[in-house]
């Protein structure tokens, strides 16, 4: 499939933004200035971006606790995200959600989610909205190998098939649910699970943007055409711990280093587009530089932004009470 | 039945009443009363009303103050002096036993007439059509925020030998909530449509408050349809109106806020019960009700004054008219009844507020009956 030049540039920028955003958070978190929990998406960029490159603002996604990448891929504004993670009033959630609850419904981003398996039922609902309102949109649930065992996820696979919803279930399988390997925690096969619920199963290499883009494009087109849900199993690797501060004593020495060296989605993307003559290396360098500046100014702005006020504590519990 | 013992039973005021509370005897036991004397205050679900003695005699109380009893239950007897206590006791025992039997035999009594929603030229109106006879029919027109139950003490009394129709104006009660422009002319047009639908050529109009302005507008638009006007505290005869009432009625949304607003309506504030307030709150919760009231108020009372001067309808002199007004009316001042042509009978009732037809139901019924005779 031919990918438009603009799409390639936008996708690279999106992946680079996620990478820099997360690497910077890794550094900043260590200074103690960022409150709460942070779960980084480094190494998985091609998955979120490859999927979301097939979506519009009208389409809905639901994310996970490891949600920064999905947010950026879906177009949530970076400065607002950074301010949110710093707990500032200028954050996308006014400093009341934090890293695990970044959402922007105007971008079809139904939220990162602190509950493993929280997203798939919500995505059934979003898909039901799209189907009922006949707006041609689809809904995509990102969920991990850990969440793949949650009852909510399995129920949602069933419900989406029963109702023939325009939904895609993107299983981002990074091999670990927290500190436990998926080879231990996931019985049977994901393929058999999809087939058990009567939906098509697809899989792809999550470090290859083109593979993800291609597979997600087919899955989303299938759902959008009214043919019911699809499971897309994306294989990838997590470069950091479950959360920042996780020493990853459960992973073999060299596992992460190998992933960084041999399976960096950004490197793979650069090689591919430059060798094929699709983009110039300098164009990518320019993006790298622009993103570096954007992240830098986002961090500076976040650190200077006002903290929430006492009145914010009581605001927005209800629309009206 | 012993002719010298007259049973006094819980009266039925209005159609929905199934029981009443004896709020208080107004006559001591052993007192001789004549027919028409006030015997007791009876609290209905809506409002407290004086119950007048149906006969003459000496009162013996059976029910005590504060008791709630079903309609028809014995509350006292009127006796002539020569009846022995034993006979009275026997009478009471027999009556009570028979009443108990009747109550058990449910369904024997004919169902009371219920209002029905009818189609009036594409508009759903709730109508209560009572009585029959050859005399010219009466149409009852309630006021702002009211409904056909405002006539609960008058409707059947007036329906003696004639048809009497009460209806909910658009925007009110069980009628459609679209009020068009919300002015008297609009409502008069609807009332004419109602006359057409019910095949009534000409009717006496008995109208209250804003209903008075509607009746005047109707008489102005179609004098041939109006046999006479009996106007109770009518709007349209002067500019002043109590906007605290109008605005409060529109905005109040709970017992605590509506009760003081309703108190403007009557002279004796104790007449306003929580059931009456609750019924109004229930009406106001209906989809479109508050919008309708707001529209009417904006059109009829812009800038806190009545927009329509309908006095010319009366000065024209071609329609027989009666005007009744409570001296202590706090909504529309009684002085608006002055300066009318001499042919218009004006009756001012002392110690009465804006709701004479409820506050002095019997007097009003008699006055109107006499006026129509």
């Amino acid at each position: 499939m031919q990918i438009a030049r603009e799409t390639l540039l936008r996708s690279y920028r999106s992946m680079r933004t996620i990478r820099d955003f997360e690497e910077r958070l890794h550094v900043e978190f260590a200074t103690g200035e960022i409150p709460g929990f942070v779960h980084l998406y480094c190494g998985e960029e091609a998955s979120g971006v490859g999927v979301c490159a097939n979506l519009t603002d009208l389409d809905t996604i639901a994310s996970t606790h490891r949600g920064h990448g999905h947010c950026i891929a879906k177009g949530v504004e970076v400065a607002g995200m950074m301010a949110e993670i710093y707990g500032r009033q200028t954050g996308v959630c006014r400093g009341k959600g934090g890293s695990m609850h970044i959402a922007d419904l105007s971008r079809g981003m139904l939220g990162a989610n602190g509950i493993v398996g929280g997203g798939p039922p919500l995505i059934c609902g979003a898909a039901l909205s799209h189907k009922t309102l006949k707006n041609g949109a689809v809904a995509v649930a990102f969920y991990g190998d850990g969440a793949s065992n949650e009852g909510t996820t399995l129920e949602s696979l069933n419900l989406a098939s029963v109702w023939r919803l325009p939904a895609v279930f993107v299983l981002e399988d990074n091999g670990y649910g927290e500190a436990t390997g998926s080879s231990y925690a996931c019985a049977g096969s994901q393929k058999a699970r999809a087939e058990g619920f009567g939906m098509p199963y697809m899989e792809c290499d999550g470090t290859d943007f083109f593979a993800v883009h291609q597979a997600a494009g087919e899955a989303i087109a299938h759902a959008r055409a009214g043919n019911g849900p699809v499971m897309l199993h994306v294989h990838l690797a997590r470069w950091y711990g479950h959360f920042e501060g996780d020493a990853m004593t459960y992973r073999a020495a060299g596992e992460v280093a190998a992933a960084r060296a041999d399976h960096d989605c950004l490197t793979i993307f650069r090689t591919r587009v430059t060798e094929a003559g699709l983009l110039e290396g300098t164009e990518l360098d320019d993006i790298d530089s622009a993103v570096r500046d954007e992240i830098e100014s986002a961090v500076i702005a976040a650190k200077q932004a006002p903290l929430p006020e006492a009145a914010d504590l009581l605001a927005d519990v209800y629309v009206r009470y | 039945m012993n002719a010298s013992i007259t049973p006094i039973t819980m009266p039925k005021f209005g159609l929905a009443m199934t029981e009443g509370k004896l709020a208080g005897w107004m006559v001591r036991p052993g007192t001789r009363v004549k027919a028409g004397d006030d015997l007791a205050d009876i609290e209905t679900s809506k409002i407290t009303n004086a119950y007048e003695s149906p006969a003459a005699g000496v009162l013996r109380q059976v029910a005590s103050d504060g008791e709630t009893l079903p309609v028809g239950a014995l509350i006292g007897v009127l006796v002539e002096n020569d009846v022995s206590d034993a006979d009275i006791d026997a009478f009471i025992a027999r009556f009570t036993a028979e009443f108990g039997q009747q109550s058990l035999g449910d369904g024997q009594e004919a169902a009371p007439a219920e209002p029905t929603v009818i189609d009036v030229k594409g508009r759903a109106l709730r109508v209560l059509d009572l009585g029959h006879g050859d005399a010219t029919p009466i149409v009852l027109i309630h006021g702002f925020g009211g409904d056909l139950t405002n006539w609960m003490f008058n409707h059947s009394a007036l329906a003696d030998g004639r048809r009497v129709i009460a209806f909910d104006l658009p925007g009110h009660g069980g009628s459609v909530k679209d009020v068009g422009e919300g002015d008297p002319a609009f409502f008069a047009g609807v009332a004419i449509d109602l006359l057409d639908t019910l095949n009534i050529g000409k009717a006496h109009l008995v109208a209250h408050s804003l209903g008075g302005a509607i009746a005047l507008a109707l008489a102005g638009q179609a004098p041939g349809r109006v046999a006479s006007l009996a106007l109770i505290a009518p709007a349209g005869l002067g500019p002043e109106i109590n906007m605290d009432f109008i605005n409060g009625f529109i905005t109040a949304d709970r017992q605590k806020t509506i009760q003081p607003v309703l108190a403007y309506l009557v002279h004796d504030k104790s007449l306003i019960g929580r059931k009456m307030a609750d019924d109004i709150l229930r009406y106001k919760r209906l989809d479109g009700a508050v919008t309708a009231l707001t529209r009417i108020a904006e059109t009829c009372f812009p800038d806190g004054r009545q927009a329509d001067d309908l006095r010319p309808v009366l000065t024209r002199g071609d329609i027989k008219a009666l005007v009744l007004w409570g001296e202590d009316d706090e909504i529309l001042p009684v002085r608006q009844s002055s300066g009318l042509p001499p042919a218009v009978t004006v009756d001012i009732l002392p110690g009465v507020g804006h709701m004479p037809q409820m506050e002095r139901a019997t007097d009003i019924n008699k006055t109107i009956a006499t006026f129509l005779a």
Binding site: T60, A62, G91, V92, C93, R94, G95, K96, G97, H101, A103, D104, L105, S106, L110, G111, N113, G114, I115, G118, P120, P121, L122, I123, C124, G125, A126, L128, S129, H130, T132, L133, A139, G151, T152, E155, S156, N158, L159, V162, W163, A315, D316, V317, Y318, V319, R320, Y321 | V117, G174, K177, D253, R254, Q255, R274, R282, R285, L286, D287
Partner: protein
Amino acid sequence: MSKKSFRQAINEALRQEMRRDPRVIVMGEDVAGGRGGTSGTVDAWGGVLGVTKGLLTEFGEDRVLDTPITEASYIGAAAGAAATGLRPVAELMFVDFVGCCLDQIMNQAAKFRYMFGGKARTPLVIRAMFGAGFNAAAQHSQALYPLFTHIPGLKVVVPSSPYEAKGLLIEAIRDDDPVIFLEHKVMYDDEEEVPDEAYTIPFGEANLTREGDDVTIVAFGRMVKLANEAADRLEQQGISCTVIDPRTTSPLDTDTILDCVGDTGRLVIVDESSPRCNMAADISALVAEHAFDALKGPIRRVVPPHTPVPFASVLENLYLPSVEKIEAAVKAAMGHRVPEIA
């Protein structure tokens, strides 16, 4: 206006709102029933107790959705649909089943708006039946409104009669926040006059079903009926009661409760839910904190014991608040000033 049952009032509210707004949909287990059955009958049940009967016929399969028996996915779907443009009314059948889907209510729907900095609206209604009196035992009889009341972001409605149910349900459907609407299963055949037209009763405004001088009784749902019966009996004995039906436990009309306690100086709370951390406990704390000086004696709570709901009638009757228990509590609240009752 005509006499309607609690069941009919709820059905009518759903029907009128579905006619009024195409975004309103109904979903749940067997809300129609019959799909996939061998008889081909559709709308076989209309809900397990027939409350949604006939909706499928009028509004079709796209707006009346039978779900698999998977509460987590369909309650979560209702939350997701509400956040993305629909106004779902999801039926949880028995409120006890909330154990299967609490996350979707407590961590998702209730918190979207706050977590997302005020950018979400979740116009979701979850209907469920609750309460004991049907010998339905421990897993089908609980009165769990305190559980939901505890969760910020939810509104909780406990209607006490057919009139109340219709107006409060329409209000719930038009509300932009998630609302838990709890129907006492023993009340479905209760009847009273209910307007044919649509109307709304605002949340957070208590209804005084009667006003008296001696004792304030606060009661919820079906308990309002029992409290009124007790108040009738007590009036014959010279004790006059105010009965407050708060209508919603969240928001709670604390002003009315405090005003009435200020007037009567005595408080009895009738609550069918388990006694620890229930509404009776909450309101007791409220009054103790804000109206302590007005109290002429201890607050009395008429509540079940801290046990699961039992099965056998004799035990269930012992478990539940009753007119007699309320009457006794009011007399106790009156202390030695109560006239001796033979």
